[in-house]
């Protein structure tokens, strides 16, 4: 017994070191699994609060750019509205039938208070949280494309798994041919992501637009992501397709959060098919 105590005493710093390293390693492993919500994240009262303060100063310097983005989006929406009004003018009828009406997606706005894009695994912190109706696995988009998927929420803040993360797999398709693929990131350039698993019979050309596919229950179908920059076709399949994002991931401020109101229904149905 005394020997054991002596040994522990002799190696106490080494033991402490090993215990701390194991603790850190457990946190790392837990962090790498997608389905587990993380303990160490920036969506808590203290870190979120500090980022919020720092961002309110930083935001001031981006007012011009934000205004630009807003007016661009405004112009696009006005164009859409104009087209709608035109079609109504031709047909000129009114349908009042609330049972026919249904809303599938619900949008709400939030602000990015911390954005990373240079690391291998990037996360974004938002200034809204569970109090504002946010839950994990909601999509985050802005006027130019998709940003990521919400991973952790606290009362007032949320962290987003950015598309610039090795754990991010988002279902996308070619705009003109409905061939599906998966959007991933190789960690090299934050303006360029990759699409994998595009079937070989798909015809891909440089300059083709990539949009979100309808397969995931998170994003609405058809949100524009980027254009094909270049690709490599070898051994009868697409090895790699590089996508130039519409979004400049280094300069994003205001975002919208997409909530799929039919998600439970869709997921339950899909589960029941799998279980049979």
């Amino acid at each position: 017994m005394r020997r054991i105590i002596y040994l522990i005493k002799k190696f106490r710093y080494f033991l402490l070191f090993i215990i701390l390293e194991i603790l850190a390693f457990i946190i790392i492993i837990q962090d790498h699994s997608y389905h587990q919500s993380k303990f160490v994240n920036s969506a808590n009262f203290f870190t979120g609060g500090l980022y919020n303060k720092a961002n309110s100063i930083n935001e001031f310097f981006h007012l011009r750019k934000d205004n630009q983005l807003l007016s661009e989006e405004n112009a696009r929406l006005k164009n859409l509205l104009e087209k709608r009004e035109n079609t109504y003018a031709i047909d000129s009828f009114t349908v009042i039938d609330t049972s026919q009406y249904f809303q599938k997606y619900d949008y709400s706005v939030a602000k990015i208070i911390n954005n990373n894009y240079t690391k291998r695994n990037n996360f974004i912190t938002l200034n809204k949280g569970a109090k504002h109706g946010l839950t994990p696995d909601l999509g985050v988009v802005n006027s130019k494309g998709i940003i990521g998927v919400i991973k952790n929420v606290s009362a007032n803040y949320a962290t987003v798994l950015s598309i610039l993360n090795s754990n991010s797999n988002i279902n996308v398709r070619l705009k003109n041919s409905n061939h599906f693929g998966t959007l991933v990131w190789d960690g090299k350039d934050y303006n360029i992501t990759q699409v994998i698993d595009i079937p070989r019979q798909a015809v891909v050309k440089a300059g083709d637009t990539i949009v979100t596919g309808g397969k995931s229950a998170i994003f609405p179908e058809g949100i524009e992501v980027g254009v094909v920059k270049d690709f490599k076709y070898a051994q009868n399949k697409y090895q790699i397709i590089n996508i130039l994002l519409f979004n400049d991931m280094s300069a994003i401020g205001e975002v919208q959060i997409v909530k799929n109101l039919h998600k439970d229904e869709q997921v339950t149905l899909e589960q029941s098919v799998v279980n049979e």
């Binding site: 710093y13 390293e21 603790l23 946190i27 993380k38 870190t47 500090l50 912190t125």
Partner: protein
């Protein structure tokens, strides 16, 4: 003694905030963010009892992790260099024992202090990037990131130590 506690408390908080608010968003050449918080390990008083250094280093690392959503990567790396700080210093100084109490980085020659900082920084950065990429196929990215970021970290740390500590 009280002065020492106060000094280190301020340094802990200052390094944490500097790192998460300024240096994490620097993006030199597009993607280089110096990790200056490890200055903590270089400047923490050298003592025979190392448990306080280990625990506080771990706490600083995990705080950085909370802010940058990086799991426990920074905690792991900084605890590692905190433990191996003394053996590496002994190896560089070629001395069997230290004169604890009086010793700090400014009492040894500049070359040796620089070598000490550079070695620890390289080890720390290699661990951080290794755990971040977590695959052998990305070894080239890991090494290039380690070297590039280390250069800036070493520069800024050395500069900071020269400017903010007194020469004895």
């Amino acid at each position: 003694m009280n002065n020492l506690v106060l000094n280190n408390t301020i340094r802990f908080i200052a390094l944490l905030f500097l790192q998460v608010l300024i240096f994490n968003h620097m993006n030199i050449f597009g993607n280089v963010n110096p990790m200056v918080y490890i200055t903590w390990v270089f400047l923490f008083p050298f003592r025979k009892k190392r448990s306080l250094l280990l625990i506080l280093s771990f706490l600083l690392g995990i705080s950085i992790d909370f802010f940058s959503d990086s799991g426990g990567i920074n905690a792991f790396a900084i605890t590692f260099i905190a433990y191996f700080r003394l053996p590496i210093l002994m190896a560089i100084l070629r001395r069997p024992d230290l004169d604890y109490g009086q010793f700090n980085l400014r009492t040894i020659s500049t070359n040796k202090a620089f070598l000490f900082i550079a070695t620890l920084t390289l080890i720390h950065h290699f661990i951080v990037f290794g755990l971040e990429y977590f695959s052998f196929s990305a070894i080239l990215s890991i090494i290039s990131n380690t070297i590039l970021t280390s250069i800036f970290t070493i520069l800024i740390c050395t500069l900071g130590i020269v400017l903010f500590t007194k020469k004895k």
